[in-house]
């Protein structure tokens, strides 16, 4: 039978860990709510953007832009990996990294790949796997700001337009619902379609509206507006990736910490049982010794 005092010590330390994981769960829940609110607030912009795009398409404009054209050969590609700065969030970073490494190998067979990573976990993960990281970003927390994402987006746009990269893949955890987040690879450049819906609501159907006259007047011209719409929609897409990743991270942490707290409770239960049994048998042993001593004296 194990030593009662050692068992008690272990039980106490597990109780402390449980307190910590419970607190972390609560913090993650609060942060998740905030991140979720931000993500919801951002949808207003995307909806309005989608409306502008569909109105443009109705005007019978031929939608073509250098950012939309796929390159004939993809010799140089870039990959942006979104992970968290902190651990203790279950498989969140692992899933993203696994997918990123796989895609890195695939792209590496076609041409050169430069990897950018957001989050400490991705940076150290790539270091471990001997994959050089071009640029690392550590400034993203649970509330990514558009002003922080904008320079990164702009930089990729510039690289793409100057022909230094032919393709941009973003690896992140996509938020589909509270109970479901999946690590995905999305090709953001060249931009496949303009409408920013999460699902494949690709190009707004141009057939239906081409004949009807658009009620809008375009200032200065529809073509000029398109010139601005395309880069903006790329930026917004990238921003949405960051928002999704932030929300998913908090959910992953919440779930991981909930599991940890439950496990700690279970462990405390079994340890208490063993401890009580050990204590009881110790007492029984002591009484037996006393009785044995008394009997030895009386006889």
């Amino acid at each position: 039978m194990a030593n009662a005092r050692a068992l008690d010590k272990r039980r106490k330390s597990i109780k402390n860990i449980k307190k910590i994981t419970r607190t972390m769960e609560l913090i993650a829940t609060a942060r998740f709510k905030k991140a979720m609110e931000r993500a919801m607030a951002a949808t207003d912009y995307t909806q309005r953007m989608a409306k502008v795009v569909s109105d443009l398409a109705k005007a019978g404009l031929d939608v073509s832009h250098p950012l939309l054209e796929p390159r004939e050969t993809t010799k140089k590609s870039a990959m942006l990996v979104l992970s968290s700065n902190r651990g203790l969030c279950g498989g969140y970073n692992g899933n993203v990294l696994r997918l990123a490494t796989q895609r890195y190998r695939e792209l590496g067979q076609i041409g050169s790949v430069s990897v950018d990573a957001a989050g400490k976990r991705a940076i150290s993960g790539f270091k471990f796997r001997d994959i050089p990281v071009n640029r690392g970003y550590l400034n993203f927390d649970d509330q990514p700001k558009f002003s922080e994402v904008d320079p990164i987006a702009q930089q990729f746009l510039d690289l793409f337009l100057t022909g230094e990269i032919d393709r941009l893949d973003v690896v992140y955890t996509k938020f589909t619902s509270i109970s479901r987040q999946v690590a995905v690879v999305e090709t953001l450049l060249p931009l496949g379609n303009l409408v920013m819906g999460d699902d494949g609501k690709s190009n707004p159907s141009r057939d239906e509206g081409t004949d009807a006259q658009s009620i809008y007047e375009f200032v200065p011209s529809a073509a000029s507006i398109l010139e601005e719409v395309v880069p903006t929609s790329f930026k917004v897409k990238l921003f949405k990736c960051f928002l999704d990743a932030a929300v998913s991270e908090q959910i992953a942490r919440m779930v991981a910490m909930k599991g940890a707290t439950e496990n700690a409770s279970d462990m405390i239960k079994t340890l208490s049982r063993t401890y009580n049994r050990a204590r009881q048998s110790q007492i029984t042993g002591e009484i037996m010794e006393v009785i044995g001593g008394v009997e030895a004296l009386s006889s």
């Binding site: 912009y45 601005e228 917004v236």
Partner: protein
């Protein structure tokens, strides 16, 4: 007095959702004014100052670019950056412009981003100066 509904939306959130008597927005090639009942239009914004006239007074915002859509007496302004002009300080902007002047971009991509930053800071400076003058 008739009013139009103004929505200023950035990728992060809806910044303004209010009734307004008139709005002047900076387009690519000059200012454009909107009164209630304006005809439907979509315009491309340039950097500059948006002036919102409300019954309670007028407000000015610096916009960096984006789109404006007028439809059904609702004016939607989609922009990446909308900063109240009072929050911009001329001295800070001038300091930033000076530090940008010293920087030497090397690759074509860096050059593009440098030019853009210079243009943005200059536009902000112009906006602040014009707002102070009027």
């Amino acid at each position: 007095m008739a009013e139009l509904k103004l929505m200023v939306v950035t990728p992060e959130k809806t910044l303004l959702d209010c009734q307004s008597e008139s709005v002047v927005v900076p387009l690519m090639d000059g200012l454009m004014g909107f009164l209630p009942g304006h005809a439907p239009m979509i315009g491309r914004l340039g950097p500059g100052v948006m002036k919102v006239q409300q019954s309670s007074g007028s407000k000015k915002y610096f916009l960096e670019g984006g789109f404006v859509q007028m439809d059904n007496n609702v004016l939607s302004v989609l922009t990446n950056v909308a900063i109240p002009v009072e929050q911009l300080k001329a001295a800070d902007l001038e300091a930033k412009l000076k530090s940008l002047d010293r920087a030497t971009p090397e690759t074509p991509a860096e050059k593009l981003s440098h030019d853009r930053q210079v243009a943005q800071t200059k536009a902000m400076l112009r906006a602040v100066n014009s707002a102070n003058a009027s």
